[in-house]
């Protein structure tokens, strides 16, 4: 007996500068669907419709409309780029399409509206920077220079980090906003060198982060390099090389995947599925969000309104990124932030690292 | 004819877009002689030159230099076979100096000394060019550009020189001078194929001539014969 077909959708940047993360997310969502289809107990047969937003709001709104207007699509896992998400949420609301964000970190995506359709499994940049500022201050650092890209992502990080850092007694000597496609940072870094900060805070994504870290070395800057979730990717380490990545710290929402009961399972399955690309930092969130939506459909059937309701009630739902509980804005509240440090060319959870034990020291300590 | 043809055009047809502009033209340009081609506007004279140079490759027919076919060869190969051209409308390189223009005329020659010699000869014929050696050719007056163009043709020291309306826009004095120059070139042993409107003076220096009309050769003969030909006389002698 053939099962009924149900469509679910994924939206992310599949082309352009941040496509690595988008494709990783797409693969992870795909994996969730594959696994569910392989499950003999599943009630429906799922089909994934994946769309490319190019990380551009106008394209994002287009594909959002396409997905939302297609009544055969029941749920959506969408958006890594916050500006795109911001533009699209109105549409999901209008068409009553329940969705969960898998990567965008701008608080306003969930908090800027009262739409019950909108959820987010990953944390916002608020949580991340709160933890980051406290942690770095605890390490005894006093002065910072901030380099951030001028997209919503970088500017948001700059805003929240500065806010929390001042609360924690840190001092910001200078901040530099740079376009997301800048190649040369020697001017900014030379100025930074003159200011001689303890830490260089970088708010942006891997490509830019790699350049900043590499060029710090060129100019002989020995300050600690602190990144945001956007650089927590093996691509960062690969890009700057093992030597330069050593001791770089970064912060990411959610518990480390391999620490979670289901995490090991995810990593194995992802490998087994044979995707050409890595899952990247937000792959687990895409997987978790998709799984959550599939769980919902299994539970309440292929109906948008019911699924929205189901998602609204989610509390303490198990997932590979930890327990998911949505607050009244659909934001996952259990957004544990994990601290990472690069050790011997690998991202290691801070607490497990030789840095935590004191065997190795961060720069300037 | 006693002398062998340096250049021979056999029954060529050529077209630009659709209609044929040349309809079965045959010509012989004997070595060491001046052969002229007369004809009214739009008769297809320039098209023959373009066909010889491979710029408007003929649709049918053959073009031979020293018995070797040129049809289908790219222009630069045709030039290497020993042909040079002084094109209609001068066609100087406007953003280059006079010297560079002349230097390009001798592009196929590699020896600096030879080139210098030839350039000195050109300067001797056209003192104005020597004066203006570093002026951009594009800024020169119409007649001055003609001098550059002729000088450039001489720089190649070709076996066969194709000349298309060289006296266009030249002063009467210079037109005369020009025909003298062509004669002198020919005296040096260069075969000349001359397209002109200036019938009197052309026939005065040419050995043999053809008359074209609407894509066909309508008359031919020695210069003498042509000047005496009644029809030609009526049609072209003002």
């Amino acid at each position: 007996d053939a099962k009924d077909k149900v469509k679910v959708a994924f939206i992310g940047p599949l082309t352009g500068g941040v496509s690595a993360i988008g494709v990783g997310g797409r693969n992870s969502a795909e994996l969730a669907v594959q696994l569910r289809n392989a499950d003999p107990d599943a009630k429906y047969e799922y089909e994934l419709v994946a769309m490319d937003s190019e990380c551009k709001p106008n394209v994002g709104v287009q594909v959002a409309t396409k997905v939302a207007a297609d009544r055969s699509i029941i749920g959506l896992v969408g958006h890594y780029c916050s500006a795109v998400a911001m533009g699209a949420v109105d549409i999901y609301h209008k068409f009553n399409l329940p969705m969960s964000v898998w990567g965008a970190v701008l608080p306003d995506v969930t908090y800027g509206n009262d739409y019950k359709e909108i959820h987010r499994v990953n944390g916002t940049m608020i949580n991340q920077n709160d933890v980051a500022a406290k942690f770095m201050a605890e390490q005894g650092y006093k002065t910072w220079v901030i380099i951030h890209d001028t997209t919503d992502y970088g500017k948001g990080h700059n805003k929240y980090f500065s806010e929390y850092l001042t609360q924690n007694g840190g001092e910001i000597l200078a901040d530099f906003g740079v376009p997301a496609d800048q190649q040369d940072f020697t001017a900014e870094l030379t100025k930074a060198k003159q200011l001689n900060p303890d830490v260089i805070y970088f708010g942006g994504l891997v490509p830019l982060g790699v350049r900043v870290r590499s060029q710090m070395e060129k100019l002989g800057i020995s300050a600690q390099f602190q990144g945001v979730s956007g650089i927590k990717s093996d691509a960062f380490i690969e890009g700057v090389g093992t030597e330069l990545s050593e001791g770089v710290v970064s912060f990411l929402e959610g518990a480390p995947v391999d620490k979670l009961p289901g995490g090991q399972y995810f990593t194995e399955k992802y490998k087994a599925a044979g995707f050409a690309e890595d899952e990247e930092a937000y792959g687990p969130f895409a997987f978790a969000a998709m799984s959550l939506i599939l769980d919902g459909i299994e539970e309440v059937g292929p109906n948008r309104k019911k699924l929205t309701k189901y998602l609204g009630d989610i509390q303490g739902h198990d997932s590979i990124v930890g327990k998911i509980s949505f607050d009244d804005h659909g934001q996952n509240t259990v957004a544990a932030i994990t601290k990472y440090v690069v050790q011997d060319g690998k991202w290691v959870v801070w607490e497990d690292s030789e840095y935590a034990t004191g065997a190795r020291k961060l720069a300037g300590k | 004819m006693a002398t062998a043809s340096a250049l021979e055009v056999r029954d060529i047809y050529a077209a630009y877009d659709s209609a044929d502009v040349l309809e079965g033209v045959s010509l012989k340009v004997p070595a060491g002689k001046i052969t002229c081609l007369l004809g009214s506007n739009g008769a297809g004279k320039s098209t023959i030159i373009r066909a010889i140079l491979g710029l408007t490759p003929p649709r049918a027919g053959d073009i031979l230099i020293d018995g070797q076919s040129l049809v289908g060869l790219p222009t630069h190969k045709i030039i290497s076979a020993g042909i040079a051209c002084i094109p209609e409308g001068r066609k100087v390189f406007p953003k280059m100096t006079v010297v560079d223009n002349l230097r390009l005329g001798g592009y196929q020659e590699n020896t600096e000394a030879v080139l210098k010699d030839r350039m000195d000869q050109v300067f001797e014929i056209f003192p104005r060019l020597k004066e203006r050696r570093n002026q951009l050719a594009g800024t020169m007056s119409g007649g001055e550009q003609a001098m550059v163009s002729i000088g450039r043709g001489l720089m190649a020291a070709p076996k066969v020189l194709l000349i298309d309306e060289p006296s266009l826009g030249l002063s009467p004095l210079f037109v005369k001078e020009n025909f003298n120059i062509i004669k002198r070139i020919n005296d040096q042993g260069i075969t000349v194929f001359l397209v002109e409107q200036n019938v009197h003076q052309t026939l005065a220096i040419a050995h043999y001539g053809y008359v074209m009309s609407q894509g066909r050769v309508v008359a031919e003969g020695t210069a003498q014969e042509l000047s005496e030909n009644k029809e030609v006389h009526e049609a072209y002698f003002g």
């Binding site: - | 506007n41 002026q135 119409g142 826009g169 004095l173 210079f174 409107q197 072209y236 002698f237 003002g238």
Partner: protein, 261 residues
């Protein structure tokens, strides 16, 4: 000559330099109503330059130009045209992608209503204007070549050189200028064609009241036949002035320009 000797154009000490080259050197000249003036001289003697300075393409470095009583020395090209000077170019400058009619209408700019609102909203009036002008252009072109007049909406790029020259002259004439500047109109034409062209130009002169013409030519037959007066330039300086017959027999002119027999 029908008209009285009213002065149309005066150059006083007109000078123009290009770097070290003095293209025009204190050039004095006078042209009266209805006159055809032949401007001749060796290559590079400044003939075209005098046209360019007169029409405002180049600025004069010295001297003055007076046209119909106005000092137009540093007027821009547009204003000179408005005042009634039209020209052809030594190297034909037609818009090859446009039709014959379009090209001629470019020359008629000052007689067409160029208002934005007129063109966009008063379509009926515009239509009439188009048709009137079409008729006029046809008539003019017919004088030069009846066959061409039937091809008004063909692109100029498809025409022979000689036809393009004719169109260029029509473009200059259509606006009924007071002064027509012709820069080597017969270049590349046979004797016969040259003669026809000259007849056509003379015919047009009869049509347009008080039209004066300056003609630059190297074809002495033509100069002899049509000019009332000749000026010979050499190195930017006037070396001789007078009727063609007198000028032609001048020794200096013979030496510098004509080349004695």
């Amino acid at each position: 000559m029908a008209q009285q000797q009213e002065t149309v154009l005066t150059f006083r000490g007109l000078t123009r330099r290009f770097g070290g080259v003095i293209a025009l050197n204190k050039f004095d000249m006078e042209l009266t109503n209805g006159q055809i003036l032949g401007l001749i001289g060796p290559n590079g003697s400044g003939k075209t330059t005098s046209f360019n300075v007169l029409t405002g393409i180049y600025e004069a470095n010295g001297g003055s130009i007076e046209f119909l009583g106005q000092d137009i020395t540093s007027w821009p090209a547009q204003k000179v045209y408005e005042a009634g000077v039209a020209r052809t170019f030594q190297r034909s400058r037609l818009c090859l992608e446009l039709s014959i009619f379009d090209n001629i209408m470019i020359g008629n700019h000052k007689r067409l209503n160029q208002g934005l609102l007129f063109n966009i909203f008063q379509r009926k009036a515009l239509k009439e204007q188009i048709q009137e002008n079409h008729e006029e252009a046809r008539k003019l072109l017919k004088i030069f070549d009846p066959a061409l007049a039937e091809k008004m909406f063909d692109p100029v790029g498809s025409l022979r050189m000689i036809d393009r020259r004719r169109i260029e002259i029509c473009r200059a004439l259509i606006s009924h200028p007071r002064l027509l500047l012709l820069d080597e109109p017969s270049a590349g034409m046979t004797h016969e064609e040259t003669r026809e062209l000259m007849d056509d130009i003379l015919e047009v002169r009869e049509m347009i009241d008080g039209l004066s013409i300056i003609l630059v030519e190297h074809e002495m037959g033509m100069i002899e036949r049509v000019t009332d007066k000749c000026i010979v330039l050499n190195f930017g300086q006037k070396i001789c002035e007078g009727a063609y017959r007198d000028v032609a027999s001048d020794k200096l002119v013979q030496e510098a320009y004509l080349g004695g027999e």
